[in-house]
Amino acid sequence: MGLSNFHDIKKDFPIFSRQINGRDLVYLDSAATTQKPIEVIDSITSYYKNCNSNIHRGIYSISIEATELYENARNTIAKFINANSSREIIFTRNATEAINLVANAWVSANLKEGDSIILTEMEHHSNLVPWQIIAKKLKLKLNFIKIQADGGLILDNLDDLFTDNAKFLSLTHVSNVLGTINPIKDIISKAHAHGITTLVDAAQSVPHMSVDVQNIDSDFFVFSGHKMLGPSGIGVLHAKKDILENMEPFLYGGDMISNVSLREAQWNDVPWKFEAGTPNIVGAIGLGKAVDYLDNLGMSNIHKHEQELYSYAIDRFSDLKEFKIFGFENKDSTGGVISFSYSDFHPHDIASILDGESIAVRAGHHCAQPLMEKLGVPATTRASFYVYNDESDIDKLFDGLQKVRSVLT
């Protein structure tokens, strides 16, 4: 299976039938969020049209249907990442909320003054700032796995970082700026040997490659629905069941309880004990549909498609003068992301001029300011691919980049 098998795929995504300034949309910002196939959009309207009701409490038909749709989505997602049980899947708003859940419910209960949390220098702000806050509150230390020039992590001195005080490790599976795939299985197994509990930020991996949480053996694993063809406002925390069972809730209220009296309450079983209040029902259903869609394409085909697009782009762009791709030398990359600099043109100027050609790319620090500092630039321009991109998008980007040069010089 190659590029040709994804050829008609844009038809599945209504947004691509829209014209912008008289041109087709060239969407190259899927690392920020992805477009939605008609199946996902239809599942949302269908829910509201046919069985809108609250879940887990109605005795009547439409509530039973809605509950089934919601819980089926949980099963679909559990299978998709090969969780041991769907009870290990907790719905959150997004990856960020899932990280905050772990920081507040697990780390704050299990770490104490003097302990340290290990992170890496390539984290998205959402896997950095929550730890800064918890560290300040509990007087924990933050230590960082360093990154080298090619965008890979420096892993030969892990033993220096995995000291007796190190209790928690949180790291990204795939960099949202460079596309680097970190060898998380190895890192986690070393961390576990030192008794360190682990969290994987899989926001950029689950959408692009097949993952197996049992094989990775992470304790916590988080991702966002909107980056994998699903709706916004729905995310996932996967955690091992025994950890969840021994963990206090994050938010308190309805649905997360089993029994309530005036002065106290008992918690519901996992995962519902972590889903206080009416959840994003339609978000979960939409995400389930998105996973069906991805499954149908096949995650290894998607990975291959992105790698082929990446190679095609590298070939095309080799003709461009003063065009530099960050992390280019690194072989372990999803292929879904190209972060670049182009002459001394500022990323905002590049993105503005490309926008005039209806090409959507990202310019800025991509919520990874410490990584930008490491790369020695205030910002980069980022083009990121997904299932619906093809060679013509890259050709248009190439033409757009030539236009950038002609406008700015």
């Binding site: 990323p347 905002h348 005039g356 205030p378 910002a379 700015l408």
Partner: protein, 134 residues
């Protein structure tokens, strides 16, 4: 928004910035940056009898932010401190020739004005309003 924000005057000042550099012993001096894109601008102003007798800007960033700073420094030469404090964003945007920059780029265009306001208010010892460039 499209490339027609790159008017000739913007590109001219981007390629050949006016009044670029630093002034020592300037009466007014201020710096600010746009955290989203890393644009950074410093403005130094020398006053004689409360009138701008020399001005320089320094910085790095996108074409819009840097050309706007260059154009602004041209515009304020010879103005009184009072006129500086009353300088409006419309005056600057009109000169840039791009009244409709769109929300994403307007911050780049107005960064230089913000720096001018910070410096001027500091000099006057008055409190800076919440959005001094507006």
């Amino acid at each position: 928004m499209s490339d027609d924000i790159y008017k000739e005057i913007i590109l001219d000042h981007y390629r050949n910035p006016r009044n670029k550099g630093k002034l020592t012993d300037s009466e007014i001096s201020a710096q600010d940056n746009n955290p989203v894109c890393g644009d950074r601008i410093t403005i130094d102003i020398k006053l004689e009898n409360n009138v701008v007798s020399d001005v320089k800007f320094d910085g790095e960033g996108c074409a819009i932010s840097q050309s706007s700073a260059s154009i602004l420094t041209d515009m304020i030469m010879g103005k009184t401190v009072d006129e500086l404090s009353k300088f409006t964003k419309d005056e600057l945007l009109e000169e840039l020739g791009t009244p409709s920059l769109g929300p994403a780029r307007i911050k780049c265009a107005l960064l230089s004005l913000k720096v001018l306001k910070i410096g001027t208010y500091q000099y006057l010892g008055t409190e800076l309003p919440e959005d001094p460039e507006n």
